[in-house]
């Protein structure tokens, strides 16, 4: 019984933790503009992240070291440094977007400008990292993120014509009035939102923080293989609500308030309350993860002590990196640059950086020196290779599409 509870909790945490500001913005924008014609991208992205999260978790459990830690010794210092610089930059933008997202959620609840919330939200994120236990932190924000199930309920309550929805999902077309380049640009952004790099760094290091062993592998496989697809359904619900309500009225999504609008109309104040809790939890949780990830990858490259599993004085450089990242992220948001634009850019750059994140995982998961007999099987390698190709294509297309479509205009 206890085991059942633990497994269920793990799955629920994975579902709730799946969505972040990038998913909220990307899925809402795409639904309002393309209806269900890009739903397939979410499916592909979910499979991709399942494949690689399973590998990363296995690497961490078997070798007791996170993937990024092993990149340097396996692929060389120069490759690892290039990877570090690119990943750190993308991570930083994502962190800024998430920190802004928390403030935007509070703005929707209070009508106090999000800029005024930034100092408090950044401080709160840092405090939680400083003092709250790793597992507790993950659990609370993961479970609270389940509030976003209001999107699924809202979608159902909006009374979609299921037949035409399924048809649209399974027969994607480029809608008339939209160019192919724009369609592909949003496909790349949506893909970047589903397969965010920081997720892998965090997941992999988190596995070591929680001291996974090979005994934990099955449980954690369940969390990933059940939790992430269900999280993907949440993403699709967001897309569905805007497709049903905003698309017919020609409304394009530019802010977080519009993301909530269809569900508010369907479910009223209760729905809004659930959404606001969900927005807060999703963005706060993601801010924790990206801030920690920036500490993880820099420390792991240089071989510094890292992690919440030791006292802060024993990992001072790790904590200094986290602190500086949060401060700089807050400062970027305080320049009052449009946080939705920052989110959109972070998604494109995530897509650009994906090969750097995923190629090392595939290599290391196949390395018998680290994997002690638990290297990738044929299925994992087949899927991993297919996705590596997909990821390379998306990465190569990201910047050209962004230039041609002027970032999706």
């Amino acid at each position: 019984m206890k085991r059942f509870v633990a497994v269920t909790l793990g799955i629920l945490t994975a579902i709730g933790g799946f969505v972040d500001i990038g998913d909220l913005v990307a899925n809402a924008e795409v639904g309002a503009r393309f209806g269900f014609d890009l739903a397939w991208v979410v499916g592909v992205g979910v499979i991709g992240i399942c494949v690689f999260a399973e590998m990363a978790g296995r690497v961490a459990a078997v070798s007791t070291r996170p993937v990024f830690d092993l990149v340097r010794e396996r692929l060389g210092a120069r490759a690892a440094l290039a990877n570090l610089l690119a990943s750190s930059f993308v991570n930083f933008l994502t962190l800024a977007a998430e920190v802004a997202g928390i403030a935007l959620a509070l703005e929707l609840a209070s009508s106090v400008s999000y800029l005024l919330w930034i100092p408090f939200t950044s401080l709160a994120v840092w405090l939680v990292i400083w003092r709250v236990r790793f597992e507790t932190m993950e659990r609370i924000f993961g479970l609270a993120g389940l509030s976003l199930v209001a999107f699924a309920v809202g979608f159902w309550r909006l009374g979609p014509d299921w037949g035409s929805v399924f048809h649209s999902v399974s027969h994607p077309v480029v809608p008339s009035g939209e160019g192919h380049a724009t369609y592909l640009f949003y496909a790349v952004s949506l893909f970047g939102a589903a397969m965010t790099p920081y997720e892998v760094f965090f997941f992999s290091s988190g596995a070591v923080e929680e001291r996974w062993t090979t005994d934990d592998l099955n449980v954690n496989r369940a969390n990933v293989l059940i939790g992430f697809p269900l999280g993907g359904i949440l993403s699709l619900s967001i897309m569905g609500t805007t497709a049903l309500v905003l698309l017919p009225r020609g409304i394009t999504v530019d802010n977080l308030a519009q993301v909530a609008l269809p569900t508010v109309l369907a479910l009223g104040k209760l729905g809004l309350a659930f959404l606001l809790i969900g927005f807060f939890a999703a963005t706060f949780g993601a801010a924790l993860e990206t801030a920690l990830s920036s500490g993880y990858i820099i420390s792991q490259f240089f071989g510094w002590q890292w992690g919440k599993m030791v006292r802060p004085v024993d990992a001072p450089r790790f904590h200094a990196v986290v602190l500086v990242s949060l401060v700089l992220g807050a400062m970027l948001v305080l320049t009052s640059v449009d946080p939705i634009k920052v989110t959109e850019y972070s998604l494109v750059l995530s897509a650009l950086a994906l090969p750097l994140t995923y190629f090392p995982i595939l290599v290391i998961a196949n390395d018998p020196d680290y994997m002690h007999g638990r290297t990738n099987g044929r299925v994992a390698n087949a899927l991993g290779s297919i996705f590596l190709i997909i990821v390379l294509v998306a990465s190569a297309a990201a910047i050209p599409l962004m230039i041609v479509t002027k970032a999706g205009q």
């Binding site: 060389g76 440094l81 071989g303 510094w304």
Partner: protein, 143 residues
């Protein structure tokens, strides 16, 4: 770089390893198993005696300064300039771990001493003393 290692361990047994493959970029762990940096570079000295034969690895060099020197090109130069600007002491040389304290070489490089005993962590100490150590709760054990 595949030079052969002259000596490893207190027992003084000679082990011939391909230093480039086995040593560089490995994680260093101190006596207590704490993460103590990576093998960023190796100090090689010409062999004694008649000068024939491969150079001997006499020390491990660790730290961004050492890494920057090894990575030739603009990336290394950039890293070196950042490192020298951030480094607290006047003369930022790489941290040097004499090879005598290397206890084992496996997936990680194990030392026979504690990391505080070596001049390994000037940056870490500075960060601890001036920033992190000053924040309340820094010494709180992780629950």
């Amino acid at each position: 770089m595949s030079e052969h290692v002259g000596r490893a361990g207190r027992a003084g047994r000679l082990r011939r390893l391909d230093a480039g493959l086995s040593l560089l970029d490995r994680q260093i762990l101190d006596r207590d198993g704490r993460l103590s940096g990576k093998v960023d570079d190796l100090e090689l000295t010409p062999p004694e005696g008649d000068g024939s034969g491969p150079p001997v690895v006499t020390a491990i060099l660790s730290g961004p300064g050492a890494l920057a020197r090894r990575l030739r090109g603009s990336v290394g130069a950039w890293l070196e300039s950042v490192h020298s600007r951030l480094h607290p002491s006047a003369e930022p040389g790489p941290a040097r771990i004499p090879f005598g304290v290397v206890k084992e070489i496996a997936a990680t490089v194990g030392l026979s001493v504690r990391k505080d005993d070596l001049e390994l962590s000037r940056f870490e100490d500075w960060t601890r003393d001036h920033i992190i150590g000053r924040i309340p709760g820094a010494r709180h054990a992780p629950e």
